[in-house]
Every structure is written in structure tokens, then in C-alpha cells.
């Protein structure tokens, strides 16, 4: 039988949930503004491998002025990061990384991390390797 392809492409529209600030622990949407994406490159100064969330601190130089600002980057829980292949020693002070995320709503120099890429290796840390079989 002849198939007639009616092309309907939809961007996900979450009709059931007008908002979905879901989190195991809390709502990231209450802390960070998804409409304010940020990309930061800098050297690691500290990692807080703590519950309920791990934090990465990086020194980010301003290309114009040369001044350095220490940014705090929130990630998931150590348990979640561990299951993605991280450990508390994956990053150490001095490693340069590029972080993509969203700006904090209520605190300066705060962002979350959607991705962390190590400059030396080009490796993207913590990305789910695939979204495979249930």
C-alpha cells in the first residue's frame, strides 16, 4: 500500500505540565535562569564533592581587562556524577575547562553546568554516553 507521508514536526510542547522544574533534590529553575545562557572558560580552583550537589569553582579571566573572577558552578549530586563516570579526582586544581550553563538568579558569578569540557583533552565530562535500552 502506498504510504503518504504527512510531515508534522513538532517541538516538544509539554501540554500536561506548564512548567517542569523537576529535580531529585530541588528545582534548578528556582536557582538558575534558562533564558540567560553562559559559557565560561577558566582554571579549576576547587571542587566541593558534597551532597546534595557538587560544586566546581573556576577562575575566569576577563579578556578585555585581564582581571580574574572566581565563578561557582553547580552540578548534580556526587551519586549522579559518579554514575556518569565522574569521581572526585577527575578534575584537579589548575585544569582548564569550558562550562556551558545558565546564570544564577540571585547570586553573582554563579551558574549551573550543562556541560564541562576539559581543554587539554577536549573530553566532555559527564555526558550520558547514550540514552539506551530500558
Amino acid at each position: 500500500m502506498r504510504d503518504v507521508f504527512l510531515t508534522i514536526s513538532f517541538i516538544a510542547s509539554a501540554i500536561a505540565w506548564p512548567a517542569l522544574p523537576a529535580a531529585a533534590h530541588h528545582s534548578f529553575a528556582a536557582e538558575f535562569d534558562i533564558t540567560k545562557p553562559v559559557t565560561l572558560t577558566g582554571k579549576v580552583t576547587k571542587i566541593e564533592w558534597t551532597n546534595p550537589h557538587a560544586f566546581l569553582f573556576i577562575d575566569v579571566p576577563d579578556k578585555q581587562t585581564g582581571s580574574v573572577t572566581n565563578w561557582e558552578i553547580e552540578m548534580g549530586s556526587p551519586n549522579g556524577l559518579t554514575r556518569l563516570g565522574w569521581s572526585r579526582t577527575v578534575l584537579k586544581a589548575g585544569d582548564e575547562v569550558t562550562v556551558e550553563g545558565s546564570l544564577g538568579r540571585n547570586k553573582a558569578n554563579l551558574a549551573n553546568a550543562r556541560s564541562v569540557v576539559m581543554t587539554a583533552t577536549g573530553k566532555k565530562l559527564g555526558a550520558a554516553s547514550s540514552e539506551g535500552a530500558q
Binding site: 510542547s13 517542569l20 546534595p52 550537589h53 556524577l81 556518569l84 540514552e131
Partner: protein
């Protein structure tokens, strides 16, 4: 000898039958499921016929491709549930399926919860590791099914909306409009007491008690299987008081005695009262799967019972890890609540 009139009648039926089939025949939906990370495999996809309520389901291939075939012509709602804590649920109404035609549908999942690294604590990263756990369900010495194991929980792929009383609906809408910022777990208080969170649950099952261990507050539940009843006039608690009985091979857990502080049906965050009554039914049809049916009644908040139906998968190489929330909780400050 068959009379000609009868042959003509049969032919007439065939012709009309054929026409009828063409008018009410079947079609399909095909396409791909993607996320910002690429194709999404094994995503459960449901198509609900909007007038008959019939549900058809499939799962995506490793390439993300899927095909729903032999769908009666009509209008469908196509949905993909929240997958782990990473991908937000998808729902698209008014997808038309015409007889003899295939509708193409691209399901582009978006990141839930801003896509924070490591926020998916179990489901998405673990489900790939144990795709085909097979075998017979184990049994306790008394012959009852043994529900022990580390289970990778999942959410209902086709959840019905809650039917809330006006006050409860107002509270819930307010919670949504403020990005669930007052969610108790954000302050290291207990999380949803219902089995609704796509994280790991460890079941330690003996004849007299079932203990659930998990990585969120308060980290444990006790379900008494020794024949005791609920206490009379017990102090309300976050997790309530649970007793279990058997209905053939299904463990039926009855829980009352909740306080009204928890937000339920993760990630929905519904309010409830102390009248909340939870009935869970757990059945282990084989080694690798746990069928979870949940029914919640609360005449103080719901206009009708709320049901959820989930299938959890065994994660045999996993363990429950420590997660002490008060160690370094910055949420109240960073959400501007402190």
C-alpha cells in the same frame, strides 16, 4: 449448487466490507525521538486515540526511529514520559492518522530541569547497563515472591491528570508558577512518599518486613508484613504507616497516617491532606521487572482517586549510595529564600 442470488449477496458484502474497511481502516505514525544529545533509544512512545481512548505503544530503536502501525484512523495524542530526570515529558495532541497513510512525527525532547550534569541520578545512566535481565522471579522460603533487589524506578508513561478540589488546585498552580521553589526536599526535608521518583530503590524483603532504602530523605521505609494493623490515632508522619498483605502473588501495601507536608507525585508536586490513603500493588512477573500500581485517595484534596502504573527494572550491579542532604545544601540561599 449455490444460487446465483446468494453469490451476488456475498459479493455485495465483500464490496461493502472492503469499502467500510477503507473508511475506518488503519494507518501509522513514524518518526524519530531526539534530544539535544542526539537520538533517544528505547523511549516509550504512546499514542492515545482521542475519541476511543485506546492506547497503542512502542519503543524507539537505537537510532531513535519508531513506528506505530495498524492504528485505527483518527486523532491521537502522542506522548513520551519524562525519561529519568533529564528529558522533560512530551505530549502532542491532534496528530491525525488517516487510513492507508503514515503520519511523520518528529519528537524533539527538551531538557528538563535545565539539563544539569549529574541530575539524572539513576534512570537514564543505569538503564543501559542492564537491558535484558531475564529469569524467574525469586521466592522467599515460604513460597511468596521475593521482591528484593535494587530497582531502577520509572514514572507512569501515560499519567492521567489529577482531579483536585479547588483549594488544592490553587495551591498546586501556585507551586508551578514559582518553579516548585518551596519543594520540601530543597530544604533537606523528605521527598515524595509515593513511589514516583525515577531513582533507585533497594528492596530488602523478608517474611515479616519489607524495607525500602533510597537516596533521598528520609532514606528508608518500613512495610510491616507480620499481620499487624495500623495504629489507632497515630501521630501523622511524612511517610505514614505501612502494612502489607498478599493478593496471590501481588504484595498489597496499605499506608495511612501521613502528615500534610509532603508534595506528592514527583515531579508534579501535588498537595494533599492527612486523609491521604495510599495503596501500592507490587508484582514481580520475572527476575528483571517489577510492576507497580499506585492508587491514592484523599477526599480532602482529590475529587477522585489518582492512579499511576509503572514498570521498574532491576539494576543488579547497583547499590544505594550515601546522600546526606545537610552536608552542603546551598539551595535556600541560591533560590533567594534565605
Amino acid at each position: 449448487m449455490i444460487p446465483m442470488r446468494r453469490i451476488a449477496f456475498v459479493l455485495l458484502l465483500v464490496v461493502f466490507g472492503s469499502n467500510g474497511s477503507a473508511q475506518t481502516g488503519t494507518g501509522g505514525i513514524r518518526g524519530a525521538v531526539t534530544s539535544p544529545d542526539g537520538p533517544v533509544s528505547a523511549a516509550p512512545i504512546r499514542a492515545k486515540h482521542q475519541s476511543t481512548g485506546r492506547i497503542f505503544s512502542t519503543t524507539s530503536e537505537s537510532s531513535g526511529q519508531f513506528a506505530l502501525t495498524d492504528l485505527p484512523a483518527g486523532i491521537y495524542e502522542v506522548s513520551v514520559p519524562q525519561i529519568g530526570l533529564v528529558n522533560a515529558p512530551f505530549a502532542q495532541q491532534n496528530v491525525t492518522v488517516e487510513a492507508g497513510k503514515t503520519t511523520s512525527l518528529h519528537i524533539a525532547l527538551v531538557k528538563g530541569n535545565l539539563g544539569v550534569i549529574g541530575d539524572d541520578n539513576a534512570y537514564l545512566t543505569i538503564r543501559n547497563k542492564y537491558p535484558n535481565v531475564r529469569g524467574a522471579a525469586p521466592r522467599l522460603p515460604d513460597g511468596r515472591p521475593d521482591l528484593s533487589g535494587v530497582w531502577n524506578a520509572n514514572v507512569d508513561p501515560n499519567p492521567e491528570p489529577a482531579a483536585l478540589l479547588p483549594w488544592a488546585n490553587e495551591v498546586w498552580r501556585n507551586r508551578l508558577s514559582t518553579a516548585l521553589r518551596d519543594y520540601p526536599a530543597g530544604f533537606c526535608l523528605p521527598d515524595d512518599p509515593t513511589p514516583s521518583i525515577p531513582l533507585l530503590y533497594k528492596f530488602v524483603h523478608t517474611k515479616g518486613i519489607l524495607v525500602l532504602l533510597f537516596e533521598h530523605e528520609p532514606h528508608y521505609r518500613q512495610i510491616f508484613l507480620d499481620g499487624r494493623s495500623h495504629p489507632k490515632d497515630a501521630d501523622p508522619t511524612w511517610m505514614g504507616h505501612s502494612v502489607g498483605t498478599w493478593d496471590k502473588d501481588t504484595l498489597v501495601i496499605d499506608t495511612v497516617g501521613f502528615n500534610d507536608k509532603s508534595w506528592i507525585i514527583f515531579p508534579t508536586g501535588l498537595p494533599h491532606t492527612e486523609m491521604l490513603h495510599m495503596v501500592e500493588r507490587y508484582r514481580r512477573p520475572d527476575l528483571g521487572h517489577l510492576l507497580v500500581d499506585l492508587k491514592l485517595e484523599d477526599p480532602g484534596a482529590f475529587t477522585k482517586p489518582l492512579e499511576r502504573h509503572m514498570t521498574w527494572a532491576l539494576a543488579p550491579g547497583e547499590e544505594i549510595l550515601e546522600n546526606i542532604c545537610n552536608e552542603n545544601n546551598k539551595f535556600p540561599e541560591y533560590a533567594g529564600l534565605k
